[in-house]
Amino acid sequence: MIVAEQKPIEEIMEYISPYNRILLVGCNECVTVCAAGGRKEVGILSSALQMAFMKEGKTLEVKEITLERQCDPEYVEELVTHIDQAEVVLSMACGCGVQEIARRFSAKLVFPALNTKFMGASERQGVWAERCQGCGDCILGLTGGICPVARCSKRLLNGPCGGSTGGNCEISKDVDCVWNIIWERLKSLGMEDRYEEVMTAKDWRPSWHGGPRKIIREDLAE
């Protein structure tokens, strides 16, 4: 899923303090699961902002809506009936959702309430960690299902580097050395031999270095 977290309230206040009526839009997908921008968080942020306005002797009208999927035009369309009443929109979706609103409502300012962080998984209650950087040419089949592109601090395809210590990455004791994980995994799969095959330089064109990406499925596109 896409993992995000809320921006500091002060930053959000800087965006919206000139206004009195806002549309606060959550999303029912990834950001709900990572507890950053679902219905519940929309309610909490709404109250927090109204209190912050009150402290400054002002009032804030908030219309709260949580869409099924903010990155999907079909659901964003549901905002049509509310958009005119609001001066600005504050989005609690990931960056994709924010941009979908910006695209659909050309005359309306939209601000992000979240910082979109990464594509990851839940490690345990309340902890999410990065797993994939969408490099566009997945090599998990060669690395025992563990990604060095996203999870090695130096993106080494032939790690571990000389800084790997006791299972930790050289940058911090709080970061796992992914090459240690890959090695353990190859061992438990009985695939130790795989390790010595040199992984050649990656073609980064399918990734973010080839310019903005788009997929056109001829079989589905209208």
Binding site: G162, S164, G167, Y195, E196, T200
Partner: protein
């Protein structure tokens, strides 16, 4: 001979090679490079020039290498893949070779996290193993990494680093094998303080015959003080400093500690000379270049061969 590299010649002659290191200054001070180089004259075969070591901005390795070259000595161009993509790396390699620099060291480099620009992008277009492949392809096939022909290819003698003390230990011989497969010519190891562990690693290296395919220079860093020993043990990732060594340094008065550090280094070299597969020494006297001559001399590594 694959190259004109003096280091290659010394190694081919079967004599123990000696390299040392020069960290370029954090400013436009060519005289600093000259001062350090002057101290190493006649006591080493080649001088590594670090590339933004510990991710701190310094005079470029390339530029400092040229200064050393102009003094008639043999620099080793260090190149980390942290700061440059493959285009920039290859253009620097051609440029360096055009200035007569014929030996280089391919590294991934310390993470930017450690340095003075932690906010910078870490490039890592390729890693150190892939860098070795790239430089070898440039040299042996006359081709750029991207496949195009090079008009007059750079003939680099290719080095890399190995850290026998990093984890997982059981992978450390295999990681070296990867670099050998990629085409590395020589290896400089991490500073060796735990000689027992180094010997176990070397045995693994020799058992697989890797010592026949690559020349391994054992890394030596003399310690100036017990404080430095403790710092290395606790703060530098992938460094193995046994407690006995710290005790030994702590056991002598402060003013005698530098001498004790040199003594330990000399003893280490003497012991390592007997280890099968050790083809020479890489002496990293960090900001202590003035001691290299004495150390090399006391370890019986002078005079250096004139080739």
């Amino acid at each position: 001979m694959k190259t004109e590299s003096k280091l290659e010649k010394v190694l081919a002659s079967g004599q123990l090679a000696v390299t040392s290191e020069c960290g370029p200054p954090r400013g436009a001070r060519p005289e600093k490079v000259r001062e350090k180089t002057e101290m190493l004259k006649g006591c080493v075969d080649a001088i590594n020039v670090t590339d933004n070591q510990t991710a701190m901005v310094r005079m470029s390795s390339f530029a400092a290498c040229i200064i050393i070259k102009q003094m008639g000595l043999d620099p080793i161009l260090q190149m980390v893949s942290r700061d440059r993509n493959r285009l920039a790396m290859q253009s620097d390699i051609i440029g360096a070779y055009a200035h007569g620099i014929n030996t280089m060291l391919c590294l991934s480099g310390d993470h930017t996290h450690f340095g003075d620009h932690p906010m910078a992008v870490s490039v890592y277009d390729i890693d150190s193993v892939q860098a070795i492949q790239m430089v070898k392809k440039m040299r042996d096939e006359g081709k750029f990494q991207g496949g195009g022909d090079i008009d007059t290819p750079p003939k680099m003698f290719i080095g890399a680093a190995a850290n026998p003390f990093a984890d997982p230990f059981e992978l450390r011989v295999a990681r070296l094998a990867k670099k050998v497969n990629a085409g590395v010519d020589f290896i400089q190891t991490q500073c060796i303080y735990n000689l027992d562990k180094f010997e176990i690693w070397m045995k693994g290296v020799c058992d697989r015959g890797l010592d026949k395919k690559v020349s391994i220079l054992a890394g030596i860093t003399p310690m100036k003080s017990v404080g430095m020993a403790k710092y290395m043990k606790n703060r530098v990732p992938g460094m193995d400093v046994p407690d006995e060594l710290i005790k030994r340094m702590a056991g002598v008065p402060k003013e005698k500690q530098p001498e004790e550090g040199i003594k330990i280094a000399v003893e280490s070299i003497e012991r390592l000379k007997e280890v099968k597969g050790v083809a020479g020494f890489h002496i990293m006297a960090i900001e202590w270049e003035q001691k290299v001559r004495e150390l090399v001399e006391r370890a019986g590594l002078l005079p250096r061969p004139q080739l």
